[in-house]
Symmetry: D2
Subunit: 403 residues, 4 copies
Amino acid sequence: MKAIVYKDARQVELKEVEDARIEAETDALIRITTAGICGSDLHMYEGRSSAEKGTVLGHENMGTVIKTGSAVKSIQVGDRVVIPFNVACGFCFNCERGFTNACLTVNDDAPTGGYGYAGMGPYRGGQAELLRVPFADFNCLKLPGTVGDGLEDDFLLLSDVFPTAYHSTELAHVRPGSTVAIFGAGPVGLNAALCSVIKGASEVYVVDNVQERLQKAKDIGAIPIDFSDGDPADQIMELRKKNSLIRGALRPGEEKMAGVMCGIDAVGYQARSFGSPKKENPVQVLESLVKIINPTGNLGIVGVYTSEDPHGRNKDAKQGILNLPWGDLFEKGIAVGTGQCPVKKYNRFLRDLIISGRAKPSFIVSHRLSLEEAVDAYEKFDERNNGYTKVLLKPALGQKNAA
Amino acid sequence: MKAIVYKDARQVELKEVEDARIEAETDALIRITTAGICGSDLHMYEGRSSAEKGTVLGHENMGTVIKTGSAVKSIQVGDRVVIPFNVACGFCFNCERGFTNACLTVNDDAPTGGYGYAGMGPYRGGQAELLRVPFADFNCLKLPGTVGDGLEDDFLLLSDVFPTAYHSTELAHVRPGSTVAIFGAGPVGLNAALCSVIKGASEVYVVDNVQERLQKAKDIGAIPIDFSDGDPADQIMELRKKNSLIRGALRPGEEKMAGVMCGIDAVGYQARSFGSPKKENPVQVLESLVKIINPTGNLGIVGVYTSEDPHGRNKDAKQGILNLPWGDLFEKGIAVGTGQCPVKKYNRFLRDLIISGRAKPSFIVSHRLSLEEAVDAYEKFDERNNGYTKVLLKPALGQKNAA
Amino acid sequence: MKAIVYKDARQVELKEVEDARIEAETDALIRITTAGICGSDLHMYEGRSSAEKGTVLGHENMGTVIKTGSAVKSIQVGDRVVIPFNVACGFCFNCERGFTNACLTVNDDAPTGGYGYAGMGPYRGGQAELLRVPFADFNCLKLPGTVGDGLEDDFLLLSDVFPTAYHSTELAHVRPGSTVAIFGAGPVGLNAALCSVIKGASEVYVVDNVQERLQKAKDIGAIPIDFSDGDPADQIMELRKKNSLIRGALRPGEEKMAGVMCGIDAVGYQARSFGSPKKENPVQVLESLVKIINPTGNLGIVGVYTSEDPHGRNKDAKQGILNLPWGDLFEKGIAVGTGQCPVKKYNRFLRDLIISGRAKPSFIVSHRLSLEEAVDAYEKFDERNNGYTKVLLKPALGQKNAA
Amino acid sequence: MKAIVYKDARQVELKEVEDARIEAETDALIRITTAGICGSDLHMYEGRSSAEKGTVLGHENMGTVIKTGSAVKSIQVGDRVVIPFNVACGFCFNCERGFTNACLTVNDDAPTGGYGYAGMGPYRGGQAELLRVPFADFNCLKLPGTVGDGLEDDFLLLSDVFPTAYHSTELAHVRPGSTVAIFGAGPVGLNAALCSVIKGASEVYVVDNVQERLQKAKDIGAIPIDFSDGDPADQIMELRKKNSLIRGALRPGEEKMAGVMCGIDAVGYQARSFGSPKKENPVQVLESLVKIINPTGNLGIVGVYTSEDPHGRNKDAKQGILNLPWGDLFEKGIAVGTGQCPVKKYNRFLRDLIISGRAKPSFIVSHRLSLEEAVDAYEKFDERNNGYTKVLLKPALGQKNAA
């Protein structure tokens, strides 16, 4: 089969590799119809991970079941399915409590598994024609309809972006009437804004400096904050103070809650400095969040932080040790949720929101390309070429081109 | 001051009564700008309660603060405020746990207090020119803007209907992606549909037989079910089965979940028989809910049931004893939440949804009348005259007419 | 293998039947070391179910793994395991949300599966020498130690009684400082008292009329209430009123909370009349609970109610339709949780409580018998012979006797 | 009245000051029967705060009501009451959501109020003969009994230590069967161990280096870990690995959860270095907690961190900026709760645990002294004189001595 393979820092290639196949009774084999390129793929692409040469990339995968192992019960050949990026067994201590992001069974090296990713176990990715899915009954989410039904890209986002975004709103306790500040208007940040709106938040602020992305935030009902215009926390507080209805509802003393109740970090350790966006500043988003969140508020962190960053700017950064405003955070009594999303906790009801027409997460998709076009796309995406918000790969496009 | 006063079964009158006034240091005095007539006022109107002659009616109240007791701190003369229907102290065992619907301080006769209502303590209602609000710091919700700002009727509904509707969705565990069946398209049922949509439910069914109300349900994105067309539970299951996307997502065995996960009773003991709408059938809604809710589902009951109904059709009904499908309910493992809404738990963030423009609960309001027109409105409302979905009284209208 | 088999109303027999064996790749085969007889087995024994002749009984099972299917990963030959009474797949809509009591995969006839029980699917019970466990990775809970370590009987109770009791305390919202009334001092009721104590409840009342059982309640720190001495709700309220420390902490109005906050029904539809214990009265426990629970309280129902009772005293009772004080329940705003326990939600950490020595649920065990003695035990147990609180069967005892 | 007054760094004095008195209709006046000296009082004592000369110290207060303002309803002269350390209004945005630790009404300078503490508003402390309690209905917890009933010291601890300890277990998600590591065996740490046991935790590890305190931890059923004996996280993992029952319950892969699920920081920024206990190391406890907590675990931080520490060892430390292992924390997906305890959320049911005899938090009290002895006690306590675990002041003792 054809697959996108990691070669070396800033080099991937399209290559013939051995076909994915059924390896255990509980496996399913999927013909990929769509696979996403994720921002976290760039951690590998840029050589900031332990990814080995030859890794087949891709953890955002969907397709059609073409074969099932003899023990598979609930999924049948012909089913359209989307696959969570976490590989999970369904029966270990963590899976049985819903933490499929921390499966203890599928990866000897760490308490977590995934497709096509450094350190996440021996699972090849889905930026390819075929994908083996272990523990298929547990890991396949069945979808209705067919490839051309206009829902394919929405369903694809159930593999990672949409649930991860939703997870961030859970960690941040976003509820009806909440005030929310989201840092980062990439695919996850924008979907976090969408999820906040779906959950009935009353004010959703999205911070970034890319105009197209800020416009998308505005389109779905969020309030864009361009950090090029000044400190984003100050901007949000200023906007809230200027709003006569918000101000008019305050009783004496309540002006001490000038910020928001919920904060989301959809950026992570590779954050750009607000003042000098060409430089990284891994603590600036966290500092801003601690500033903008009100006392008793909640912070959800899904932007990736890592304990090993070969490119970190100093010894501490290389080990993921950051200099954080802990005294402020404690005095405000903020609660913080962190970590990878357990996709299965959310993907089913998010699917139902897509089915009912209430959610259209694919508004973030910028490109639909063949596998043949993927190598170039990686390069452009890595340049933070702003048009490349979200690239989806469609193996069938290449076959059409070839035909 | 002028006030609407209970006289006898099916008789209320507009009367001059002693002015409401500050009676304790913690009181505030409110000039009513809007007061609602509630479906539960009809329980008294129809003589199905222990209401005493002379009771000033009205528990849905808002207005402008014209005087405050010496101990009041957070509310000032001139503030626009809306008042929860529950009178609550803020410091008893129940209030401090958030159950302001069960205050132990304000009513010697029962663990609950309210304005202008039989058995709810010595508090006069707000279908009048003035209202005394006890424990004003705790009971007044401050509002921005002024009477003519287009938000008055939305804010009024924060006193009862909108929070009660929201409460029903909390009791029924409505969440993003939920499937919901709501029985009753009166003000509370329709607002429960609105709240379900705000919370991101994927399917919201509303059962009634009044076309105007079913149309309103449809307008906000719910699916109307007319019980004149057949058993409503069957209709919902049939609709779900016909939907090819819903059906296409099922795996083997999942067809056993043909109903919905969340059920709401927004009707109560005065429910009409589906087959013979002129007769009451107090158990039919509950029977239908137990039928339509899936195993492991949740039921929220905010439609009123009572332990004393002088008009009950038999000895059991007179004591609120009902013949219920308990075996089915147990086998399905359904959880049931019941009771009056603790308005303060929700009114602040629901206010913020109105302020941000994300909620417009006043779509149910059918009439805006003067106090002078209230007597006639009670009569029409009691006839279940279908146009009379929700009547709001505006004392200032009468003054204008008089002027 | 030898097994206890249902023959007809009030007749079971010990019989040679075909050996249990591996039937699917995901199965495990267990040699039973201990199996319980459950109160719900008597529903079948008495002919009050649809149990078919030949059913191998027993849903409380533990033993040693002697063989595993080829797809089993986490359980090995030689492992000591205890098996939840619910048979569950681990991947359907209900299992993935933790509701293993409502598995959609394992039983074509109903959304629930179990071993050796009428209507719960084609799974033979464990009152036998061998047991087939489907979806073994998901359904086996691994145990440390060996048969003679003094923990065997505690571990056996992880199959049903201990988790079901714990579940009742979850449904009833028992927490540190809670006041709890438990109706029924059978194995589940007594373990519910134990779980309430473990959770830090401050007052735990247990209602029954059997002295030995009331004594056991007292032994673990609960307060026994003998319903022979008068209305149990009145007795509890009287005791609370007499306690000068409880009374001394009340502020004005708080005497309206004279009952308890948490109520547990560990009896079900076969409840005995308080006044005439030889007669059944299926609503008396529920009536008492509604009386004793305070406004805003919670009720957990794990005593079994059924929608089909051939022995019901009238047409309604035969369908599980009960005459309940719904008006009182609503006015108090009580929330009710019902249904079978999802054992896997609790069994692992309850195991850890046994391992650490903090829980000893086996204080309820009255008999440890061979399979040969089981037929007689069923008879005695059914006579409500009071000594027979809990019978455990140990196949090895019979073999020893035989040797 | 006599009172303990802050004079300067490491100087307090017993002084005659103006009597506390009723200042508002909602106040109560208390004659102090017992007042605690808290570890956080030492932050002021040592000059590491903005405390002003003349501050009357003491935020752990109980006594007898001797006068009430005219608006006070639920508390009467003669009532025995304990007062939460947080001063709170009961009606602001934070109080109404239960966050009485972040009251917006009572302190113009910050969103939090307290007695006798720098930056917590104009409220004098209770290490004195009399105390003014604002918003008395909301802030007084009524107690039964009288001073000599053997419960006085337990009740006193309801003002801060016991609820703060309980809060830490809530932030850390301690539940039945939990594994817990608590850093710090001071009053809060030891009470956190007690609360963990009350909640049914299965393993509770307490880390310190003071033998008396470790012994007290052992006495209540916790496992003492002496950090003088080596890295405490390593010690805990070693102990768990050596326990054959714990080890025997593991399935393949579950050894990746070698630590505990719940971690509690009961130390804060003045933490001593494990290796050199005479030096401070403000990040060592947090580093150890991140090491010992399992993936998906929870961390509760109630040890105080501050945004202004004049004695901080460098510029960052002076602002409460700490160098933390954020990459590890994220990779484990740990959730962190922080901040001051909202005492009212817990004090009532913790009182009921004391009343029922199920909790005896006063096992930590080392000294019961007169106000006259307080100055000396501050000095000894500040020297970390190990015997001085918890000092309670009893004004009546001094009067007896004087008499």
